[in-house]
Every structure is written in structure tokens, then in C-alpha cells.
Amino acid sequence: MNSLFKHLPLVFRHEWRLLLADRSLWLTLGILCAVLAYGLFNGITATEARTTTQVRLQIQEADAAVRNVDLLRRIFEDKANPEPFANPANPANVGSGLAARYAMMPALPLAPLALGQSDMLPDHYKISYRNKTSFLYDGEIENPWNLMSGRLDAVFVVIYLLPLLIIALSYNVLSVEREQGMMKLVLSNPITLSTLLAGKLLARALPLLAGAALLPIVALLLFFPPARQVDALPQMMGWIALVLAYGLFWFALAAFVNALRTSSANNALLLISAWVVLTLIAPVIVNLAVSTANPAPSRVELATQTRLVTIAGLNRYNELLSTDYRYTTNLETLRPKDGKLDIPERLRAFYLMDRDVDAEISSLLDRFDIQVASQQALVDRFGFVSPAIVAFEGITGLSGNGSRRFQHFKEQIDTFHENWRGYFQPKVLGGQAMTESDYADIPRFVWQEESARQRWTDLAKRLFQLLLLAAILSVLAIVFLRRYRVV
């Protein structure tokens, strides 16, 4: 222990001197910074685009509401004629799209670090009383790991490139000393092999991990104003902790491989093989295993089921649907009278059909959600076979673009959709005309953030998994170092 405290700073300083002298550290840091900068640029651009879109949609929504109320007022004052398919007094028109509201999932302060599914799955939906398949399930419904591949962002750099840079700097820290003949001279001094290895790895870990963990935070603070909130601080700490833990795993792996006393070439081969297995192959295997164990319901089945239910609806409401289009020519019927409106039968039929579709395919839609949740649970459970999965899941969770938050968003959409339909149903079926005050009462989507406890529990679990893996490798490295033959 005395040797550790006395010699570790000496080895650390010497290694820095070596790394600076042969420029390998600068080169490595340069690559890391350049790719991280590109990833951050992508992340910030994409997140700002999302936020801008959401703001634009909110403005559109507000403008539409003002237009509708204004037109309604003028209709009541006989200053304007209602239009047959965009009548602000008609709850069927209003509820099925004229005043449709957007449900939006806001970006978190760390969103630019990991775009996750945001580039594959929408962060907003236009809600009406139409059936859910018409707006909610028009995207890909699959295992979250299928949805991960996206544009190059900071988390991609950390998960895939950082280990390669760690390997490039660390694969031969001991073997090169043995191969070039310095090891005996070094170890003829009162220093242990584990202290020597620790000092060497620490000298490489400090700049590399500090760069990977802190550069994105600095960039966010400078170029992404939402990250400057005080609330973002714990999330930033979480990011730093995850990056450090993930980096620590790779350094521990490098330590273990160095302790095996194979040649530098073998070390490189072993570490690159480990990188391929842990970051490329293991996620695919987990993905396959998860998809096999919990296959998502067929998309064809969903489409077919929807069509069958729709056809059944067409038959069921045949009479209502067969009514004529007199409303398009008789403007008087479009005007509200004593709070009532002659709602076209066809529109009532469409409302009922959409309601029936949702009711009859709800079990199928539930199966989608259950399967996605089951797949996520399996990924959570067996993701530890790859630290890449663990770190990715942890970081996307912190960035707010993970599958768990998306599921949370969808649950809120389900509730909002039900509320929306519940608000319009009595008006549509009872023939009640929309009034100005009704517009003020139309349900609004209010985003509820997922529980902070859940997020921090999830983060703690990922950190524990990464640190446990790193600890196991470190212990193995120490065991092998004790058997290490210097000559």
C-alpha cells in the first residue's frame, strides 16, 4: 500500500511525459474531441429542430383555436357561414381534427447527448377522436434495440469510439515494457507490478475519460441553453458517472489483458475481439434473444385486424353512412340552434366506427405495449452481458430519449385520447353544438414527467452493473499480476 501511494504519482507523471513526448495522447484526444464535437453538433441540431417543431406546432394549435373561436363567434352573429367539413360549431368536425391538439414529449436538458429513439419515433402526436392506429401506431413497433441505430451523437462516440481509443492507448502498457526490455530495470526498484500498471492506466484514463465526460457537458452549457437549468445538474452528474464507469470497465479489461502476459499483438487482438463481441455482437444476440423470447405481435395482424373491424363497422353503420350530403348545400342546417346542431349521420357513424375499432383492437394494442415492456425488461435483466447495452440504456434514460420515457409518453397519450373522446362523445351523439366556452374546456395535454425516483433507480442500477463488471476484471487482473513472470 505504501508503494502504491509513493510510486503511483511517479509512474503517472512519467507516463504523461511519455505520452506527450510521442504525441499519441494528443492524437487520441484530438480524434475524440473532433468526433465528439461532430456528435454534439448533430445532437444539438436535432434537439433544437425537435424543440422548434414543437413550438411551431403549439403556435399553429393556438392560432387554429383563435381562428375557430373567431369563426364560431361570427357564425353566431350571422356574419359568417359555416363550412360543411370545417364547422367550428360541429363537435364531430372539431373533435376529429379541426381543433385537434398535439401531445408533446418535451426534450430534457441532456437530450442532445443521446438522440436514442427520438430520430425514429415521434416526440409529438396530433390527437383526435379517430382510432389510435390512425396516429399512434403508424411507426415501427419493435424491440427498443432495433430502434437504436440512428445518427452519430455523443453517446455513439462514447459507446463505440471511446473503447477503441482506450484500447489504442492501453493495449500494450505492460507488454511493451517487457518486449523492449525496460521491465526488469523498472521492477528492480521497490515498486509492485500492480502499482506500475495502475499508474500507467491512470495516466491514460484521466485525460481520456475527463474529455469524454466533460467536453459534452461544457458544449451543452455553451451551446444549448436548456442545459443551463439547475435541474440539469443531477442529470449531468449522472452522465459523468456513467461515462466514467463505462470507461473504467474498458480500462479494467485492458488491465486484465495486460496481466495475461501475452505479446502486444495478442493483447491488441484480444481487446479488439472483446470490443467486437461486447459492442457489436452481444447487443445483436440480446436483441435476437429478446425478440425470440417475446416476439412483438405481427404488424400484418394489426393492419388486418384494423381493416376487419373497420369493414364490420361499415356494415354495422351502413344506414348512417348511407345518408346524403345535403349538408354541403344547405347551409342553414350547419348553423347551431338553441345549443343544438344537426350533426350529419355520416360523421356520427365515423365517430362510432373509430370508437369500435379502438375497443376491438385494444387487446391487440395492449399486447404490443406488453411485449415492448417485456422486451425492455429482458434487456434490463440480461443487458449486463454487454456493458455497451448497460451504458447506452443508462445514458438514453438520462437524456430522456430512452424507451422507458417513450412508453411513459404513450401511456399519457392513451389517457389523453380517452379524455378527448370522452369530452366529445356526448356532444357528437347528443347533437350538441360547440360554444365559445366549450372551446375553453376542450382537454389539453399536460405532460407529466416520469418519476425522478424511477430514473435515479435506473441510473444506480446501470452504474452498479458497470462498476461490478469493472471490479470483477480488476480483481482478475490483480490475480494474474501476482502470477506474472517478469523473466
Binding site: R17, K184, L185, V186, S188
Partner: protein, 236 residues
Amino acid sequence: MLETHDLCVEYDGAVALQSLNIRVDPGEIYCLLGANGAGKTTLINAFLGFVEPATGSVHVNGLDVSRYPLESKQGAAYIPEQVMLYSVLSGIENLDYFAALATGRRLPKARLMALLVQAGLSEEAASRRISTYSKGMRQKVGIAIALAKGAKALLLDEPTSGLDPSAANEFSLLLRQAASRGVAILTTTHDLFHAKQTGTRIGIMRKGHLLVEFDSVAVSHEELEAAYLEHMRVMQ
């Protein structure tokens, strides 16, 4: 002081040293002669704790190397046949590192330079990268490293191999100076002349055994050569 008691060392089942008893007292320069594979380097490795005794024990300054691996290294300096150093660093930067490892603290630059000059390296050379050094210059840095350690025991593995006569002579002088300060020196060599000139005692090893010892003052060069050749012939 360097000492072994009935030391046996095996490599993967093959015997490298067998019941070896050797003792180098403070102020002595013990030169170990022997053909390649005689066990000379293994003995040095045993003193440095790089090989574990199968039986017997190894002591440096009274400390059992197996029980006190770090403490025993504190008291012994080592110069290999080829002093391999960090080629991207200068001589003084290399010495800075090794001296710090040896003493547990960094020495002042002036002290490092003085040690290199004492070892025979010019100040200009000391600031150049090791990649520009000859073998002799690297050997001098190795000497400076040993001097910096200020150890009571010195282990040298064919230190003059490949050095020109003048450099070898300077090296012998440095060894004698160290011995006069009470340092126990064990050096392996193939060079009988160097052994006779520098050593106070000379041992001949073969197949892990110490066959014979001479007092370098009492033995003539011819007698030493004859004894060495005879033992080598027996081996062949």
C-alpha cells in the same frame, strides 16, 4: 550483502540453479564466470525476486527476498547487459524516473545531472533523446541510475558486454569506487580479463552449480583461464 542458502531454482521443471551457496560481503566485487545457460542471470533474477526459489533462500542485506520483496529491492541496484530505456525521453528524464522509483521521491535536476556526469555522460548528451544514444551511453545512464539509488548491493548482468575497452575500464573504476564505499557487488561476465582486473573474488558456474571460487589476487590470469577452459571442456 548478497547471500544465498542452498538455492534451487527451476524453470518449468528444468533445474536452473542447484544448491547454490554464495555470499558477497560489503566492499567485495564478486565476478561470476560461466557459459551461456550456466545460471548466472538466473542468480541475478533470484536476487531481484524475479524468480522464486524452489528450495533454499535468497538474502539481500539480510532480508529474505521472498518475504520482503520490496524492501530487499530497496537495497539492491541492478544494471542489465543491455540498459533499455525510454527512447522518446532524454537521458536525464530517464534518470529522473528511475531515480524516483528507486528512492520514492524526485531528485533535483542538478543532482541528476551530477550523477550522469559522474557516470561519464556529458551534459549535452544528458539532454538528448535516448534514441540517439550508443550502447555505451545507455550503459552510463544505467550506472547513473544505480548511483542514484545509493544501494548497498549492486547486481550487474554482463555490464561491460559490448563496451569499448576505454568505457569498460571506466566502468571498472566506478565499480571499485563503489566497493570502496562498502557496496557488495555481484557481476556476471564472460570476460576473464575483466573479472581478474575488477573482481575481488571470482566464481565459475556450470549448469546451475557453483564449481569453484578464486581470490582474484591469489590467482593468476593463466590459472584462471586454464580453470575456466577446463570446466567448459568438461561441460562439452
